[in-house]
Symmetry: C2
Subunit: 319 residues, 2 copies
């Protein structure tokens, strides 16, 4: 079928494990371990790593070491862009002082979710972000905008694709250079991707649109396939599937970097990232956290240690 | 995009949990529990349930109660077709004596796998199955043919799509009314689906071709989406993702029935099956087995019933 010939030749991954993953873990991770994790991810070839967030240490104690981490990163980083999430001007000031060169702001597609998350309506959040984005751009930073719950909201239910497009336009107008459309609670199904992402992609172009899927109900990789077929070329993923519910062993959070890499490489799509090196980074941080991986590739029996496409024996094989 | 308009309106599921799932579990399940599990699956609306296999009790002790189970099923069943796997003429005789009305034979796409699995080459297995299939057809039984490792073999690596097509033709020639193409070790990626399943589908037609994906590396649902886009309308799945490695909590085996149902229903594709009733059946048997689910939908944090509920009601509007 011709649709398979339209797949992109190359895809860019934005690794969100150190931020979106670790902020949801109950275990406090020493800054040295975070640094090592990020270094391993960088060595794996990831070009974009969301390293931390400059948020309230009271609300997210897991990321209270943001300054310390960024100071260490600055000294050691060479290749990747290290992104930092900032919720407001105070967060931006902290990020700037720490030497961040790329920041992300975040709002949601529904008022109910956004109120719950950042105590503002969507419009209020846009008003609040305007000076933050302007200041960041004035300082020469790269700016990314997250839109949460684009495919379904835990409070409002279904979300009109039109609302996502309107919000995307406003974030682009503010100056965001890239948007990330999130399925924050992992409810999306593949037919929603053309409906929700399609219009934004048509408006902003593929280089400015990322998708951010959670694998809560198992649909993340199928949604990623739908996004690839639509022409999306940037995907947010989390090493080891970090961000899964720590209270449900094996339950999924963010789409695991390894799972997407396995599929992409198997389909001949280039990423510049080593699956095995990402897996090694994940095993390192999972050891620190003392928890099993939430991603399928890493969960597979007998700890598959072969590159994508290679095939190993495990117990599932017998009929 | 037009590709999304070509999705089938209705899909048929073949539930393989009681056989493919339970045969891989280390816990011996009492026949009464198997019966209850199958009854719950039938009540969920599943039209096809692979109930057991008439294989050597020495090799697969988990299914040693096949006669007993089928006797109980015969007395109670009304709706679904209860399939039984048979490896040879002896198995068929047992199945016939037990009152089975639908059987499945199985071979593999590679000699190495087939030798390992049933101690025959592929050609030898076809020779062996010829009288079995003939006898079954003479008795008026429905006959299904499984082809394992169509997308990759643990011993031979990659598999030529041509070999799958040749084997499919031979099984159809033998009299198999339906083929199930298996990704037995869960290595397939979506671009393999048109390459491997496409030619068989073109030859046999959608009503005679099923796909049987394992979620070992997380690609099962994406592969299912690729199959849907190709026109496949029959999917083998396993309630609760049974068949996952019991030694790796959360690791995946067969594609979970719930995960496929969530995606299909979300995309407006009818199945005639109640997702919540399948989930209830899974919870029942997982309780007997004393293990967590391997399927994502069931694994999701806090049993997702609350947030998903608001969204599920408007499912059709979400397209």
């Amino acid at each position: 079928m011709r649709i398979w010939e339209r797949l992109p030749a190359r895809v860019r991954l934005v690794e969100v494990g150190p931020r979106d993953g670790l902020q949801n873990e109950p275990v406090a991770v020493p800054v040295a371990a975070k640094l090592r994790f990020i270094e391993l991810l960088a060595e794996a070839g990831l070009s974009d790593i969301e390293a931390t967030a400059f948020v309230s240490p009271r609300v997210v104690p897991q990321l209270a070491d943001a300054e310390e981490l960024f100071a260490l990163l600055r000294q050691r980083s060479a290749g990747p862009v290290y992104w930092a999430l900032v919720p407001n001007m105070k967060g931006l000031e902290r990020a700037l002082a720490a030497g961040a060169r790329a920041i992300a702001v975040f709002t949601g597609a529904t008022d109910a979710f956004t109120r719950h998350n950042i105590r503002m309506t969507v419009l209020e959040s846009l008003v609040a972000f305007r000076p933050v984005v302007k200041r960041a751009l004035d300082e020469g930073l790269r700016v990314r905008g997250y839109i949460s719950v684009c495919f379904g909201c835990p409070y409002e239910g279904s979300v009109e694709p039109r609302k996502v497009l309107d919000l995307a336009r406003r974030l682009l107008d503010l100056g965001c250079q890239e948007l990330s459309l999130g399925d924050t609670i992992g409810v999306a199904v593949p037919t929603q991707i053309p409906a929700v992402v399609g219009p934004v992609l048509a408006e902003a172009g593929a280089v400015r649109v990322a998708v951010h899927f959670h694998d809560t109900r198992g649909t993340a990789l199928a949604n990623a396939l739908a996004a690839l077929l639509l022409g999306v070329t940037t995907f947010d993923t989390s090493a080891g599937g970090l961000g899964g519910c720590p209270f449900a062993p094996g339950a999924a959070g963010n789409l695991a970097t390894e799972d997407l890499l396995y599929m992409l490489h198997g389909m001949g799509i280039q990423t510049g990232v080593s699956l095995e090196k990402v897996a090694a980074a994940s095993r390192f941080i999972l050891g620190v956290l003392g928890r099993p991986p939430a991603g399928r590739y890493l969960q597979a029996c007998s700890q598959i240690a072969a590159p994508a496409g290679a095939i190993t024996t495990n117990r599932d094989e017998r009929r």
